[in-house]
Symmetry: C2
Subunit: 327 residues, 2 copies
């Protein structure tokens, strides 16, 4: 349908404008500069018929990290904020949490103390808040929370803390017959309820971490129960594994912002033919956040060095982006 | 692009034919009867604008089992024939197989004896033939084998042993803006190298069983190694789990042929709104095979009872299909 609409729009433009040049900028929130030029040059060379580096539409796979690449990940991952809110909401049913860590500290709003101790603490919080219900129940909980919760600094819904330049980039790639996927370390079921509306990316094009689920009959109706057991961690070396498992094709373009995206960028950019790797560097403390090598969430260290060494595009958020969030 | 082409075709037809009725049968290999009527009635009611059971295109998800639903699964699963051929090809590098079961019996062409003993034997054969190489090496091996191997009864390439009526059904659904997935108990990596060419189903729309893979650097290049360890069995109660994991939407139509498809059919047909379940019943010993409750591969017992009880469409291959294989 979208292609037909585009075709009709084109017809209308031709009818009205005769030979007028249609030169609408597909990336209006990107300042002119090396990053924007590199993106456009790549898309041109893989889509122009007769280009020596032409790629047929079916193989135009692009993968985007989510946290820090499509939306903000500071002061903590949004999914962690969700987990903490869920622990608080579920606390009345768990009196034992008042005296058990990490829950006691969380309920006392001492998040740093609760989560500083170990990965195990974070895992316990995730399991307590993400498992033990059907998939439908969990989806409803996520949808409800994401509609109501607000970012602590900007006081906006988290789905407004998405990057306008990246929305334009996704739309630009789709308009050029790319199939755009999210490949995130975050929970696949935490993203799917809203990615289609917010990013235009449907659930079947979301790859992420997951818990195990189990098919069961409940009152004669089939349900999928969420188990408190990790199924897959789609981060770092897990990203190429997740891409291979779910997409089954090697992307020709990958977009990330942290060391968790390094292997996805390596895997994508070392395939044959034209390849594109991009790293969003958070350099804008005033409009968003500035962080890289020493960050607690979204550390960008090794991948920044490798981007520079390999010639991947490094977006300087402060100078490359005219606007950060949608108006 | 496809939508534009369809639109242009329509324009051309209108220009040439004026008001001529375009009444091409989308399912020419299906005999007129209840099965064909049920399919067309379902597609009409979910696609007609203004229909009370209208489903928007994004949610028109259809899932097809592969073995016995899209292609033949007798006298044994094609993937098992592949595994046995691989064991024979690899035998010179494994002198110990000459005296170790199940390999010794396999190499002596006593397949029944080799595999009759236990599931463990089948698993050992699968691991020996499917793991221990990169994903790219495995894909090349599958592509080479599928191009050369022949079905033992009809002496045709396995990719010619696909069901013409089901190819038409897939194309008919896609023409009605369905997104068509394979959801198979077979290995995802065994199917992906050829499903796009044979069925028009791209790799990212194939769900199946899988081994674990591991990201590694080899001579400075990233590879994915196939490990001799099961990642996921996409069969029976695993099918709704695999669908949820990879597609993230509940299908509105599911197509199967065996008890391994029962839970996928239950999961699909108990959602809200219009739903469609179909079971291919193999009733044609002359043109294909006749088997159901007692079959070693593709047992259809409980799902046949449930299809009858729940009103799912049961295709009688002998009477419903004009032709079985593509000409």
């Amino acid at each position: 349908m979208r292609a037909v609409q585009r075709f009709l729009t084109l017809l209308a433009l031709l009818a009205v404008g005769g030979c007028a040049t249609v030169a609408r900028d597909p990336l209006p929130s990107w300042n002119e500069g090396k990053s924007k030029q590199a993106i456009v040059a790549f898309v041109d060379k893989v889509t122009a018929p007769g280009s020596p580096q032409y790629v047929r539409p079916a193989e135009r796979i692009a993968t985007f990290d989510n946290d820090g690449t499509l939306w903000a990940e500071q002061p903590m991952y949004t999914q962690l904020a969700f987990a903490i809110d869920r622990v608080k909401a579920l606390a009345p049913q768990h009196p034992e949490w008042r005296t058990t860590e990490p829950f006691a500290s969380l309920l006392a709003n001492d998040i740093k103390r609760a989560l500083a101790k170990s990965e195990k603490a974070i895992l316990e919080v995730m399991m307590a808040s993400h498992a033990g219900m059907t998939t439908a129940e969990f989806e409803a909980t996520v949808s409800d929370w994401i509609a109501r919760a607000r970012d602590p600094r900007f006081k906006q819904p988290y789905t407004s803390m998405v990057y306008q330049p990246m929305l334009e980039l996704g739309a630009y790639l789709r308009a050029n017959d790319f199939k755009v996927f999210i490949v995130s370390g975050g929970g696949i079921e935490f993203m799917r309820p809203w990615t289609e509306k917010v990013y235009g990316i449907p659930p079947e094009q979301v790859v992420g971490s997951s818990l195990k689920t189990k098919f069961e009959m409940r009152d004669g109706k089939p349900v999928l129960m969420r188990l408190p057991e990790i199924n897959f961690i789609d981060d770092g070396p897990g990203k190429p594994v997740g891409i291979y498992r779910q997409i089954g094709r090697r992307p020709i373009a990958a977009f990330g912002n942290s060391d968790g995206d390094l292997q996805m960028l390596q895997w994508t950019t070392t395939g044959s033919g034209a390849r594109f790797g991009l790293v969003v560097h958070h350099t804008d403390a005033a409009r968003e956040w500035a962080y890289d090598r020493k960050a607690s969430f979204g550390t960008l260290d090794q991948a920044l060095d490798e981007a520079q060494a390999k010639g991947w595009t490094v977006v300087d958020m402060k100078s490359d982006w005219k606007t950060i969030y949608p108006q």
